[in-house]
């Protein structure tokens, strides 16, 4: 997939662990882990909203688009 989730980068900047974030956002550790490792197929706006509030950032800080041909073939 061409969309990269930079959740780990924002978590490191805000110095927050996955378990703390999951409590703040209201998602399970498993679901957050799916998002962090780039395995997620889709994200709800409500989830994006909760993560942005918790990490005090913009959606653009979390999501990045790459036009990599190798990834497009996948």
């Amino acid at each position: 997939m061409a969309i990269i989730v930079n959740l780990d980068v924002m978590m490191a900047r805000r110095k927050i662990s996955l378990s703390e974030l999951s409590e703040k956002v209201g998602l399970t550790l498993a679901n957050l882990s799916v998002l962090k490792t780039g395995k997620a197929k889709a994200i709800r706006f409500s989830t994006l909203d909760a993560i942005c509030r918790a990490l005090e950032c913009q959606p653009g800080d979390l999501l990045e688009f790459t036009n990599d041909p190798m990834e497009e073939d996948e």
Partner: protein, 180 residues
């Protein structure tokens, strides 16, 4: 939410009851297959005993008048009974493996596809059997009960359509599970 939970519980209970019935059907069909096989083998050794074991009188007449046709019809009957046992066994696997939290699994799709192929195979075997009976009626003037093909064709088609719907369901469920 209470209505959904109650309906979910009812479905689970219904599936448990169906599982018990599926076991009864499987055991019954297995016994039937065993009886047909044993009767056929016994009739080859001692033709007089077979009609006493089960309702074999029509086939016993055929054995006297047309042994080749008897072997052919007997073999088809045995294979047909075996296919029915296997179909009931697939049904058991389906019912034991179904989880209402995530019902669309690749295993379920494979089992449904297998079931549809076996239903269509049963229809093909029934067609061969009925064709044989037509020849026997013409040559030897012996009338035997036909097997109905339509039900197996319709079931085979329906189950195949269901398997394709479940295949799409697996894709949608996977996407849903990976949506955070």
């Amino acid at each position: 939410m209470n209505a959904i939970t109650s309906s979910y519980t009812k479905t689970q209970q219904l599936l448990k009851v169906m599982y018990v019935f599926a076991w009864i059907v499987f055991i019954g069909l297995s016994i039937n297959f065993g009886a047909v096989l044993i009767c056929f083998i016994v009739s080859l050794i001692n033709p007089a005993i077979a009609p006493k074991l089960m309702d074999w009188s029509q086939l016993a007449t055929l054995q006297e008048q047309g042994p080749l046709q008897y072997y052919s019809v007997g073999s088809l009957l045995i294979v047909f009974s075996l296919v029915k046992v296997y179909l009931s066994q697939i049904m058991l696997q389906l019912l034991s493996g179904v989880k209402m939290q995530s019902p669309f699994t690749p295993k379920t799709v494979r089992l449904l596809e297998k079931m549809s192929y076996f239903f269509l195979s049963a229809a093909a075997i029934a067609y061969l059997y009925n064709t044989q009976l037509a020849y026997i009626r013409k040559d030897l003037n012996i009338s035997l009960d036909k097997i109905s093909i339509e039900q197996f064709l319709i079931l085979g088609g329906l189950v195949f359509i269901l398997s394709q719907i479940f295949k799409r369901g697996v894709e949608i469920q996977t996407e849903n599970e990976l949506t955070v």
